[in-house]
Structure formats: C-alpha cells, structure tokens
Symmetry: C2
Subunit: 155 residues, 2 copies
C-alpha cells in the first residue's frame, strides 16, 4: 500500500502542476511496470487542441511507444482521478489490468467534468450522441478481408 500511496501522491502533484502551467484540466497519470515509472501523462485537451488528450491516453501512448508494443500487459496505471469511459476503455485495449486512482468520477462531476455523465449514458440506450446505422452492400468486406489475411496481427 505504501508504494501505491507514493505513486498516487506523485500523479496528484503532477495534476496540480498541469493546471498551474495552463496545459489542460486537473488530471495526470503514470504507467508503472515492476515498480518503475514507464511514462507520465497529462491532460492537454485545450492547449494541444486534442479532445482525446486525456492523461491516461497520453500515458498509454507514451508507454507503448517506449516499450515498442501495443500490448501493455504487466503494467498498471496510476491516475489522479478515476478514468472516464474513454480512458477506461483505452486501459482495457492496452491489456492493463489494474487502475489505481485518487479522486472519483463524482468528484470530477462536482468540478464540472462530464465523466460521470458519459458513464451513465453508456448504461442506457438513449444517449445525447446519436448512433445511426447505415449499411452499404460492402459493409462486411473489411472484416472478410481481415479474416482471410494470413499475416494479420491480432490485438
């Protein structure tokens, strides 16, 4: 638990610095493997003009680049705040199995962030983002070609 506290302290301090420096929202994260920090991530949505640049996404991208793999199995992630559904799913795709976080999505909501709202919308069929299905005659072709591809790399 001591080690977890240390990394949580660290990312919480980074998140505070991120706001003070005007880089973006109050969020930071770190990817850790075998007790060592592989990468740190910061929210840079507004300064980098990238709505996907959340701390966890940033940390995952940097760790994957550094370790030269899209598969971060064996890594864990520390986040100053509970990941939003985008970041939770990114963790999932990266094969990271444990997320340690400090503030909750309810805390984030209190300060005006929509994380909790998206979590709620993902549990219903009625969302503020409309998903409209339009099939053309070829819509399964990409998957069929994928299926036949002998040298495909699964992820």
């Amino acid at each position: 638990m001591q080690n977890h506290k240390k990394f949580i302290d660290y990312v919480v301090a980074l998140a505070e610095k991120n706001v003070k420096k005007g880089i973006g929202g109050p969020f930071a994260a770190a990817i850790v493997k075998n007790g060592r920090i592989i990468s740190c991530g910061y929210n840079g949505v507004t300064s980098k003009n990238d709505p996907t640049l959340h701390a966890e996404i940033d940390a995952i991208r940097k760790a994957a680049k550094k370790l030269e793999t899209f598969d971060l199995r064996g890594c864990v992630i520390y986040a100053s705040c509970q990941p939003c559904p985008m970041c939770f799913s990114a963790v999932y795709w990266a094969n990271i199995k444990k997320i340690y976080y400090a503030a909750s999505k309810e805390n984030a909501a209190e300060y005006g962030f929509r994380d909790e709202k998206i979590y709620k919308e993902l549990k219903t069929k009625i969302t503020s983002v409309k998903m409209i299905n339009i099939k053309d005659k070829n819509y399964l072709n990409p998957f069929k070609v994928w299926n036949l591809k002998e040298d495909k790399i699964k992820y």
Copy 2:
C-alpha cells in the same frame, strides 16, 4: 440518405484498404462538416504501437488539429463500424452529436474484436479491469486549483 450512403461507402472502402496495406484492424472513419470531409482516420494499433489508435480517435485528432480547436461541434462522424466505448466517449468529448456507422459491434465481435465485451463491462460493477481507489491527503488539490484558476479554458 444518399449522402450518408456515399460517406459510409467511402469509409468502408478505406477500412478494407487499411487491412490490405497491413496498417491495422479493419476500421476507418471520417469527420465531415457541412458535407465536406475534414479528416480520415485509420486503425493503426499494431503498426504504430498505439493501443489508442482507433480510426475514430485518429480522425478526431486530425480534424481538431486541422480546425485548430478541441471542440468539433457541428461535425459528424462516419465510421465503418460502430465505435467502441473508447471512441464513443471520444466523440462525446469532442462534442460531435451524430455517429453514422456501417457494421455493428456484434459484427466486430464475430470477427474477434472486444468492443461489445467492453460495452457489457461498462454496464456492470464487475469488470476484468480492476479500479482501486487510493486517496492521499491532497487528492482534491488539482480540482481546487482548477476551480480558482481565473483564465482556465473549460472543455
């Protein structure tokens, strides 16, 4: 509907090409504003060593960069396949209100992709990714500093 079909045809063809070229999974997307394509995105998870590099994330990042804003209000997204929860949430954060898609998450599941599984996990409290809450004494500081920051840019 004719226009929607045209863009769907286009991204489905891009997704097929993406597999043939060995760039990544069978997915492509395009951001459209006022009937014009702003950006195209491709799945590049395996070739770029980036587990977050899904087609929609790629398209959103490129569009935001091109339009020099993190707010893609007024844009719509066309995707060769129903976005996974990571990409759905990215669309949400980008303030895009409509997603047109061809193949479904059930189709993706049939071909070995985990999109549907993540959707299911987000509806339960028991997930294969563990979220562990560890609070230090400063855990709300980033939000408090954010709250007090007069020149903050909300997103």
